[in-house]
């Protein structure tokens, strides 16, 4: 996980990077929001520490840009302009924290830890979903058909009728599917099917 420091003041971002580096964080620094967006890669994880006032896009605007792209990287907003308007903007943007410059490094580190914890949970969720998709990929076409019907709550006989195969074969498919997906009973199977293929649930 990386702390992405975005501040237009070279000394400020350098000093933050140095301080965080000594605290054991990996950091990457950017002079403005555009530089960050240009460098952005989908597999980046961590949190953004951004100044409110930046040339071009502000820190808060950058956050909403990322949200629109479905990137939920947590933000810590810093400002040398501790006025009510910027505090309110940061609050609305659901930043993890809002720190007034000059800030205490303890507060910054605490905010970063909170952000990292959020990010950790997000990664876990995404990992789970990815492995689910992987498991689904192991199913044969027929097995997937059976799973889809089962997810709709159909019994073996109904599935057999729908697919034109014998109920016994359906039971065999089900056992195989449960085996491949690592679930123990039909209820879990249904839950998995719905979670892994949310579009089927609609």
């Amino acid at each position: 996980m990386t702390v992405f420091v975005i501040d237009d003041d070279a000394a400020v971002r350098d000093s933050i990077a140095l301080m965080l580096g000594l605290e054991g964080y990996r950091t990457a620094v950017f002079a403005d929001a555009e530089a960050f967006l240009a460098a952005w890669r989908g597999d980046w994880a961590g949190c953004v520490v951004a100044d409110v006032r930046l040339p071009g896009r502000s820190g808060v605007e950058l956050q909403s840009t990322l949200r629109n792209r479905a990137i939920s990287l947590p933000f810590v907003i810093i400002t040398a302009h501790g006025d009510v308007a910027t505090a309110r903007a940061a609050f609305r943007s659901q930043a993890v924290d809002f720190l007034e410059k000059p800030f205490d490094n303890v507060h910054l580190c605490a905010a970063i830890e909170t952000a990292f914890a959020l990010e950790e949970r997000r990664i876990q969720r995404e990992d789970g979903r990815r492995s689910d998709l992987e498991k689904l990929g192991r199913l044969t076409a027929r097995e997937r058909e059976v799973l889809e019907h089962a997810a709709r709550g159909l019994h073996a006989k109904e599935i057999a009728a729908a697919l034109g195969i014998s109920p016994r074969t359906v039971e065999v498919h089900k056992t195989r599917i449960m085996d491949k997906l690592g679930v123990r009973n039909v209820a879990e199977l249904v839950r998995f099917a719905i979670a892994a293929t949310p579009s089927n649930g609609k």
Binding site: D9, V12, S15, I16, L22, A80, P102
Partner: protein, 525 residues
């Protein structure tokens, strides 16, 4: 004060008041009704009223005695001693009542608001009407006014007293009000004021000598120069102008002995002129004050904007300094046996940076919302801070710096950081002033003394050239600076801070540098 001192002072006041009163009475004893003091010009009551307003009704006996004496000296007791005593009692009582009413209704004698002028005019006009009725009533009841209708005598007395007080009392108020007094004196040195006085004199001459027999028919011409004067110089101009017109009228009447001038009509017109001048003058003053206040507010708002911008810019490097400092600390901490002195120094750097950021934040807060965080602060602590500031400011400049204080001082109730900003400012200014004067024996002193029960006065003195009278005017206005490199915010912000504390910051009218900072103390329950 010992009672003998009090008595001495009282006698001195009486010795000034009584001759002045009698002299004015004598000078204004013109065009009377019979042998009595029913004249169309009576400035001397103003003297009595102002004296009793300022000194209190304790002066009533002296006023009574003086009125009595004046009647004896100027008019040789025309109605006999009983009548003279009765009328003197009526007059002294009436004037005392007017003085009491004015003192009660007016918070001060500045005549600085339309309300004050309205009260002043109303009390004087109503009061003199009542006094006149009583005075003339006594005489006519005694059958001494045979041949003169009551109304005629009453009108004459009323107009005489009213115009006398309306014209003279503001002059006396001004004489006892240092600010107004010095403004009047500086007005006399203005070329435009001189021109106006000449025009006024010419118009008075014209209406008495230039246009034939009846000066009251051309009297309206006087309104033009009066309006000019009042619009240009406000109340001060109006006070002086009406006094000049009054003197002109008196001279005109005196120079025409024998000619039956309509003195009462002239004085009635003068009442109208005076009231016009006073009201116009006070309105001009009020408008000027409002404009000045607005300008100040706008300037401070601009200063607030600037403070915000500066705070932002200063906070950036401060952030970097503190981050670098903490990083250095962290690096040094990795080696517990490492150099301890460096750690200590970096700790000091960090705490200074924190202090700087705190000052920036409070200054910005001050402009933003006017928030001042009051806390109990020992005067000693502030003085030690002042000593530190002073000693670092004079380093290597060959200036001596000392702090003087009494043995015990009350606890102050102030915002420590804001007051330190003021002290730093004053001390820096003093150092600059002394150093700029190129003096060998430069000396700066900070002294503290009690100022009443509720305040403490901190005086910062230097033996530099001080602030010239001309510079004092705009000294505390933002963006007015006497220094080539100054922004002119220091003293403006300092005064704003002092006033936000319920204190004040003033420059002393002396020939060396001297600033007085008054701050509130903790109120003991």
């Amino acid at each position: 004060m010992p009672s003998s001192m009090k008595l001495l002072r009282y006698l001195r006041d009486v010795a000034v008041f009584a001759p002045c009163y009698i002299a004015l009475d004598w000078a204004s004893y013109i065009d009377p009704v019979g042998p009595f003091n029913i004249t169309p010009w009576n400035p001397q009551p103003a003297l009595a009223i102002v004296w009793m307003m300022l000194g209190g009704l304790i002066h009533f006996p002296a006023v009574l005695a003086t009125i009595l004496l004046a009647d004896v000296v100027v008019r040789h007791t025309p109605g006999g001693y009983v009548i003279t005593a009765t009328t003197a009692l009526v007059l002294a009582g009436g004037y005392a009542t007017i003085a009491w009413a004015l003192k009660t209704l007016l918070s001060d004698t500045g005549l600085r608001s339309t309300r004050q002028v309205t009260i002043f005019a109303a009390v004087v006009v109503a009061g003199t009407s009542a006094v006149g009725a009583a005075f003339v009533g006594v005489l006519s009841a005694a059958g001494l006014l045979a041949g003169t209708p009551f109304n005629n005598a009453w009108m004459r007395f009323w107009i005489g007293d009213a115009v006398g007080i309306l014209v003279t009392a503001p002059l006396l108020f001004a004489a006892t009000d240092p600010a107004r007094g010095s403004a009047l004196l500086s007005l006399l040195r203005r070329p435009e004021a001189l021109l106006q006085a000449i025009v006024l004199g010419v118009v008075v001459w014209l209406i008495f000598k230039g246009f034939g027999s009846d000066p009251s028919r051309q009297f309206y011409l006087l309104f033009l120069p009066l309006i000019w004067i009042a619009v240009r110089f406000g109340m001060n101009g109006a006070i002086l102008a009406t006094a000049i017109v009054q003197m002109g009228v008196v001279l005109g009447v005196h120079s025409d002995v024998g000619a039956s001038l309509p003195v009462v009509e002239l004085q009635a017109l003068l009442v109208a002129l005076t009231l016009t001048g006073l009201f116009l003058g006070v309105m001009v003053d009020e408008r000027q004050r409002a404009e000045k206040g607005l300008r100040q507010t706008l300037r401070l708002a601009a200063a607030g904007e600037m403070a915000g911008a500066i705070a932002h810019e200063v906070n950036q490097p401060l952030t970097a300094v503190m981050n670098y400092g903490r990083s250095a600390q962290k690096l040094l901490e990795r080696d517990p046996a490492g150099p301890s002195q460096e750690k200590e120094i970096i700790g000091k750097i960090l705490s200074e940076a924190e202090r700087a950021s705190e000052i920036v934040r409070r200054l910005r807060d001050f402009f933003r919302a006017g928030t001042t965080r009051l806390e109990e602060v020992q005067a000693d602590e502030l003085l030690s801070a002042a000593r530190r500031m002073g000693e670092s400011a004079i380093e290597g400049k060959g200036i001596s710096f000392e702090v003087q204080k009494p043995a015990s001082l009350p606890t102050l109730f102030v915002d420590r950081l804001q007051i330190e900003v003021i002290l730093r400012n004053l001390i820096a200014n003093a150092v600059e002033s002394v150093a700029g004067a190129d003096r060998r024996n430069g000396r700066i002193a900070v002294s503290v003394l009690r100022h009443g029960d509720k305040h403490v006065r901190i005086v910062v003195t230097d033996n530099g050239p001080g602030v010239s009278a001309a510079d004092r005017e705009g000294l505390f206005e933002p963006f007015v600076s006497g220094k080539s490199t100054g922004m002119g915010l220091g003293l403006a912000v300092s005064r704003a801070i002092a006033e936000a504390h319920g204190g004040s910051l003033e420059v002393a009218r002396v020939t060396h540098g001297e600033f007085h900072l008054v701050l509130p103390c903790v109120q003991s329950a």
